[in-house]
């Protein structure tokens, strides 16, 4: 940009210089905490369950952030996001299962999945992003359901309802020892390598998405979200931008699916294509704060922590209050979904602009 920096920019203006920055100390602190916590998770929270949760948070950050590109930045409601997530998962799974469990097949699977996803996103976009938002949502719902049925029917390829369990490249296998002995009491094995692959990919993909939304292209998207007629009237063909972001978001979700597959060494309908996951993503983005990307980070972390630990927390509480009336029943671990629901309602009620919006003081 050749524009001169205005001399008289007030202090407040300087603080808000980039609409993309976290723009709040508290928010920045929380984000640093999450990223550092995830980076150190294997050492700070040892144990396979916590590592599983940490890895899941990582690939859900990518998945939710890519959904935010559509919902939060462009105002597109899509229910096909898990389909692209699934394409990534199945791409890696089928390739690693059918070819050899090595890096080449992983690369082939990833590439093939990306091609399929982007083409599908392009097709769906071209056919339906011209029409009203509700039709687009319906079409994505239909396509995603069809894909889920297809995946469970094509048993010879996908493993049907059972999914596919497969072996990953040797470096990432749990049996692989990368170092003798332990580091801070943690074995340096293939599992750890797999975790850091997932973590590093997450950071890379998240930064890429930040760059997309902070580019001029990203401003056009936000303009479209606010008022597509105005965006048209200053010379932007909004349908092109919508289709392109739909493809980018699909590609990101696909890569998240690959990460999920590599981490779980398994891909099935339940872990990638289920409508429950679609709802989870929607909740994560809404609770975290739409149109911020950072909301995806905070939302995914809170959501998955709650999903993983609320039940055992309630179990402990229920046991502690065993002698009292009502309370043990009310907080029985089986009722954890009820309480998760209550937490969601409360968070949407108290943070209508999401947690990030709240932290930014809006």
């Amino acid at each position: 940009m050749t524009a001169p920096a205005p001399a008289a920019a007030p202090a407040k203006g300087a603080a808000m210089a980039r609409s993309s920055a976290p723009r709040s100390r508290l928010l920045s602190a929380v984000l640093v905490l999450i990223f550092a916590g995830l980076a150190l998770a294997p050492f700070v929270f040892p144990g396979s369950q916590s590592l599983n949760v940490a890895a899941k948070i990582c690939y859900f950050i990518v998945l939710a952030a890519s959904f935010d590109l559509l919902l939060g930045y462009t105002g597109i409601v899509s229910f096909a996001h898990t389909m692209f997530f699934g394409i990534g998962g199945y791409g890696a799974a089928i390739s690693l299962y059918a070819l050899a469990p090595d890096w080449t097949s992983l690369a082939i699977g990833t590439l093939a999945a990306l091609v399929v996803s982007v083409l599908l996103a392009l097709l769906i976009g071209l056919f339906s992003l011209r029409v009203r938002a509700i039709f687009f949502a319906m079409i994505t719902l239909a396509v995603a359901s069809a894909f889920a049925i297809l995946a469970s029917q094509l048993g010879w390829l996908t493993g049907g309802e059972d999914g596919r369990t497969f072996r990953v490249p040797e470096l990432l296998r749990p049996g692989t020892r990368l170092m003798d002995g332990t580091l801070f009491g943690v074995q340096i094995n293939g599992r750890l390598a797999a975790y850091y692959l997932v973590y590093a990919s997450m950071v890379l993909l998240f930064v890429t998405m930040l760059r997309v939304v902070n580019s001029p292209f990203g401003s056009v998207l936000q303009a479209i979200r606010e008022n597509d007629f105005r965006a048209e009237a200053i010379g932007y063909r909004t349908v092109v931008y919508r289709v392109v972001i739909n493809c980018i978001a699909a590609a990101m979700a696909t890569l998240a699916g690959v990460l999920c597959a590599v981490w779980l060494r398994y891909t099935g309908p339940g872990t990638t294509l289920s409508f429950d996951i679609m709802l989870d993503i929607l909740l994560i983005v809404v609770i975290g704060g739409m149109g911020t990307l950072y909301g995806a980070v905070i939302g995914a972390t809170l959501f998955l922590l709650a999903e993983s630990y609320l039940q055992s927390l309630m179990g402990a509480f229920s046991a502690a209050t065993a002698g009292l009336p009502v309370l043990p029943q009310l907080f029985h671990p089986d009722r954890w979904l009820l309480w998760l629901g209550v937490l969601f309602i409360l968070s949407v009620y108290f943070f209508p602009s999401g947690i990030v919006g709240r932290l930014r003081g809006r």
Binding site: A9, N227, F229, R230, A233, I234, G235, R237, T238
Partner: protein, 255 residues
Amino acid sequence: MPEAASGSAAAAGAICAPLLALAGVHTHIGPYHILHGVDLAVPRGGLTVLLGRNGAGKTTALRTIMGLWRASAGRIDFDGRPIAALPTSDIARAGIAYVPETMGIFSDLTVRENLVLAARQGAMDADRLRWLFGLFPAIERFWQLPAGTLSGGQKQMLSIARAIIEPRQLILVDEPTKGLAPAIIANMVAAFRELKATDTTILLVEQNFLVARALGDNVAVMEDGRIVHAGAMAELAEDRSLQQRLLGLSLDMHQ
């Protein structure tokens, strides 16, 4: 191209091909027939005012020119080229900027981002930006703030600034002074005067006859979806009975 600064020069300008010409334009919005065959010629250079009562179809005319409503019949030519069938974004890129009545800024984006969006070259010309800052000092002052935090007048100025961040052949402006304080209106009038001194042609929808008279070279009056009078502003400004006949009601409201 004649520098159409006075009424007589503008009248002379009407002889050569107009920059924008509407012929027999009809527009339907849903079941409503809004424009009933609009014939309008906007000569190159200078400022044409579109007057008329509420509901006469002025805003619909501008939106139809931009392709935001589709003309159901008739011809729209811009710079000798038919544009009625083009998508809105292509009409904008052909060189028409539109400042809607609702101050079409993007409130989530900063003032700077709003202007960068409109500067389709990707970069803003530093000299032109300085000129804009001179026209509308508030833009420089609130450069990095979200546009949604500006006051109504400042939003209107940003909206106009966005239309002229790059030279455009034609600017459509819909009631820029509506709801603004008199001091801001004066500022706006001065800005339009300066804009007229450049090569830009302006089509201005305005209800405030004083503003219209101060700025207009030509005038067209709409009623019930048709143009009922077109000519030089000077002629209308002097002819009280013509004003009475064409604008009776709206003039009373504003004086």
